[in-house]
């Protein structure tokens, strides 16, 4: 399907959990790229702004069978029945038809947090505090991304600022579509293990589309029917089993271990 000017894309990523070593470079790069302020001294792990969080999960077994996996979790960019889009009372959550990216419009957000209650991935964050940077650190702010105020919700948008920059570059070169190499989110760039593959899932030539269809690729909470565009993969069966929502299965697995 094509618009008059650009090809419509459906951006997504595939995260190889067997490669992720939990270093957190992705989360750091994300915060720097998107002008996420340093945590307030009163903030807790439940009131911080972590567009991309890396969660350590154990298989629940005792040594020497104990194994762990690090799972980077950001907005899963749902494609169907996107829970946060339909609930927002004032259209502050937007899906870009050109990219399929779900974005927050902080300038329009009322801060009612209904979208947060709706999100099964807990990928939305509320600004509980005024954003503050230590003196001098303002100079490191990314001029392409606006900072958010207290009282609004924010979340991962696949570094939409980078997509806009890529689009501007393509336009300057007289091209209709962007060069895929020009649009790579900060987390993908930063990962030292190259665990994240990003691209247009609708483009069969893209690495991301191929990886999303590979064996052992999966999505979290797929049965909820929200069609996330963030895929994961692992060759370990116990890691893949983490994807479904059945908490009781976790307990029986742990007890077996």
């Amino acid at each position: 399907m094509e618009s008059a000017e650009t090809t419509l894309a459906r951006y997504g990523m595939v995260i190889d959990l067997d490669r992720c070593n939990g270093c957190g470079a992705c989360a750091t790069a994300c915060a720097v790229e998107n002008n996420v302020p340093p945590a307030n001294t009163s903030a807790t792990e439940r009131t911080g702004l972590t567009w991309l969080r890396v969660q350590r999960v154990s298989n629940g077994r005792q040594f020497p069978q104990n194994r762990a996996v690090y799972i980077p979790i950001s907005c899963q960019q749902c494609g169907e029945h996107t829970p946060c889009v339909s609930v927002c009372p004032q259209n502050a959550v937007d899906v870009n038809p050109e990219t399929g990216v779900v974005s927050q419009v902080p300038a329009r957000c009322l801060g009612c947090r209904y979208c947060m209650a709706a999100c099964p991935f807990h990928a939305r964050y509320f600004n509980w505090f005024d954003p503050k940077w230590p003196d001098g650190m303002e100079a490191t702010l990314n001029p392409d991304v606006s900072i958010r105020m207290r009282g609004v919700v924010e979340k991962c948008n696949f570094c939409h600022g980078r997509w806009q920059a890529a689009k501007a570059k393509a336009a300057a070169n007289g091209a209709r579509d962007i060069d895929p190499a020009d649009y790579v989110p900060a987390c993908v760039d930063a990962c030292p293990e190259k665990a994240i593959t990003f691209g247009n899932l609708d483009d069969p030539r893209s690495d991301a589309a191929r990886a999303s269809k590979s064996a052992n690729a999966f999505r979290f909470l797929e049965k909820l029917g929200t069609d996330p565009k963030v895929y994961y993969r692992s060759d370990r069966a116990w890691v893949r089993r983490l994807a479904d929502a059945d908490v009781t299965a976790r307990e029986s697995e742990a007890s077996r271990g």
């Binding site: 439940r46 609930v87 009372p89 947090r113 509320f126 505090f129 049965k223």
Partner: protein, 410 residues
Amino acid sequence: MDKPLILRGARRCSTKRFLTWLAPWAAMAVLGVLAIGLCLVKGLNQTNMDNRFAFGLWIFLDLAVIALGAGAFFTGFLLYILRRDELRAVINSAVVIGFICYSGAVLVLAVDVGQPLRAWFTFWHPNVHSMLTEVTFCITVYLTVLAIEYLPIVLRNRQLRKVPSFLVFEGELHKVMPVLAAVGTFLSFFHQGSLGGLYGVLQGRPFAFRDGFAIWPTTFFLFILSAIATGPAFVLLTTSIVSKVSGTRLVRHVVYELLAKVSGWLLIVYVGFKSVDTIVWLNQTAPRSGVNPSQFYAWQPFGSWVLVVEIVILGLVPALIFISPTRRRSLPWLVTASVLASLGVATNRLVMTIQTLALPTFKFEPFMTYWPSWQEVATFLFVIAYGVILYSLSFRYLRLFPQERELQKY
């Protein structure tokens, strides 16, 4: 001191005693103003809500008081549309309670949102697919309707009646009261339903998500039913409390009986639908979302006992008391059943708000708990204090119970 303002022919306590009664509530309200000020100035970091518990005590309060405030529209519907004239004895009181509940909820919502000054955005660029948009529109309009319904009650005050134009205005307002009651009923059906819909549409939260009819999940209809079933019971409860506190007979027992009968049969219907809904949800809707429904009740304190308490003890039991003609003759039984029914609707709203958010969605996440901060509790108490003060003033100076003067003769 304030005798010229007091309702003619009504027995009211001395000014000093009245002020003594108001003093603790005023102190509670002052504490609430302090807490509200802190939240508005310093932000919602003053609460114990967080990214997981995006909703807390306040949303529970909003849902609960709006359900209890349904007595206003439903009594109006029974009186003006279904012509149950006996309810004229409590309609004024029901309107004041409704106004208190709705205005209290709107006030707390204004503190609860991160950017209250942007509240008008919902009207400017509304998302018509959002249940919250519908709730915002309906509650705003219905609060206006309640204010207009409150106005003639105020204008009938002894001193205000002396102004001829007020009297004429009040008479004109009275003529349109059935229209207002119809508008109020229409609006209320929708926003009570949409408040349930808020949760029922949450596809990402299998504990709250329900199938439904057309665009409405079953919680839409269950919230309407539970609100109209509990509203009359809450009118009964408040009337009996006011009667006890003021030491005055306010309505004939037949009025209590009618309210109880209406509540009772509606509760029976509600409990029936709620039970069917629960069975379908646990056996079909939740498993389809990849969830084993037993995990909903695997985390304490939200064990399966919550279902039994909500549906049986706080639903079926008060319903059976209400529909029994023998029990209905006894006020203590009616008050007990009203308390149970009111707690029942509050439990339902608590479960939908708090348990929905507490349950983990990821397999590897823990169950999370939340306890409100003193600022949240004080804001909650502010609404209670505001309600008691406004109601006390209304009871002292306005004719809330038309049968009162007549009953005092006996």
